[in-house]
Amino acid sequence: MSDDIILEASGLSKRFGGFDAVGGVDIKVRRGSIHALIGPNGAGKTTCFNLLTKFHQPTAGQIRFDGRDITSLAPADVALAGLVRSFQISAVFGEMSVLENVRIALQRRHRGSSFDFWRTERTLRSLDGKAAHLIEAVGLASHISRRAGELSYGRKRALEIATTLALDPKMLLLDEPMAGMGHEDIDRTAELIRTVSTDRTILMVEHNLSVVSSLSDRITVLSRGKVLAEGAYADVSTDPRVVEAYIGVPHA
């Protein structure tokens, strides 16, 4: 694998009041890889995500994405630069149909920030074909006209991925894509992530370690807002510090 780094954060820190949620995290993600961010509860994984996508402004540190400093960009601009995130709670538009969910992302990509309130929404139908294609790719073709809020949890996640892919991002940040899923959903979603990753970079936070071990090329372990270890799964999982952080200190 090449040493081409697509996302690099250095000294990334976030302080909430007197609490260092994230304290000086360095992370490098190789282009085209699946990189996992793991760690016990409260390790600062989600905060890291929020910082990388600029939903929170870092207290200190620098973020470079695809050769460009994005530290001071607004979150919407980060998305436009090609770094798109998902959320821990599934982020679909519950009141809209599956088709409309994907189409709203296509609308952003193909029509830009247009404010055309005088046109009929029928003009959006030109995007329906592309939307249907993406929906089919995540296995939701038979649910295309259903209200997104009615979908099962796993299908919501699939829809969310289809919506994210509609932006054709260079890199995806998935926040706990498997959280709260049953077995079949986990397998299906893992397969989907693998398919998606063929021409994209993925950084994901995930608790399900079997998923992490089978999917990811590289793993960063966070604990108490700091990087504890980094490397391939086999190395990281046997690192005594990681075992300690997850299971606790063995009694003497």
Partner: protein, 337 residues
Amino acid sequence: MNAATTATNTVTSGRALAGQAPGLLHEDAGEGRGQGIALIALAAALVAAPFLVYPVFVMKLLCFALFACAFNLLLGFGGLLSIGHALFFGFASYTSAHASKAWGLTPELSIAAGTLVAAALGLLVGSLAIRRQGIYLAMITLALAQMGYFVALQAPFTGGEDGIQGVPRGALLGVLDVSSDFSLYWLVAGLFMAGILCMRRIVHSPFGQVLKAIRDNEPRMVSLGYKVDRYKLLVFVLSAALSGLAGAMKALVFQFASLVDVYWTMSGEVILMTLIGGVGTILGPIVGAAVIVSAQSYLSSLGAWVVVAQGAIFVACVVLFRKGIVGTLADRLGRPL
């Protein structure tokens, strides 16, 4: 402040209501029939009304109905609660009255001037208010609107406590005399219908889709690269402008612009109308305005008790029609109205 506080409580449910159209693949498939029929019926009623009812009463109703619809564009479709919409309604009213009386402008120009002033005020208030959310946004609009009220009270051109009286209606395009109630009616009815169709288009436009999605899940829209504040600001300005259109017409209908229209109770009344009719429906606010305006006018013999009657109507609506009269009806029919 009762109306205002109740309304804030309903904001969250209002957001939910607005999108609760049945799960159609394309909203406009439903828009086509249910709303189409209702709008044709509305147009027919507008044509028949001046022959059956006192035209000034109908015009008053239309002005408030348009105002309520404009407010609903912001609350029901934009998910933003303003408690300061009287500012746009009232200042448009002053502007068109002043333009017509002091500058001798023709009615269409006076109305256009009022609408423009309201849009400009909407841009000002909106750009400050949308930086905050929920109750804070509402409080900023209220505060700014009350500052506007103070200006209206003190500024020389508004006439203070007296208002602007004896506003001439003039002649449309300088040719068509609209000084009689009957002839002015057609201008008001035409602009009213244009305003309603305009709002229906906004709701069912690509922009309307974005608004709907922002109301549904704002952080997700940000993560998809949408600059949500700009969309919120635009819907705020559009709502203010259409409220202005209503206020500007009202000044010509009554040939009078007064402090009543800029006071916060007017902002409260428009919230009441919208909630009674059904937030997030195209036709609901029209029905809500009809209920309130009729109650005020037919129950005026009750004197101060009319407020109590209004309160009773509101309570009855909340208990019987939780989504407003039209909202509940739309649910029964299973299509958006």
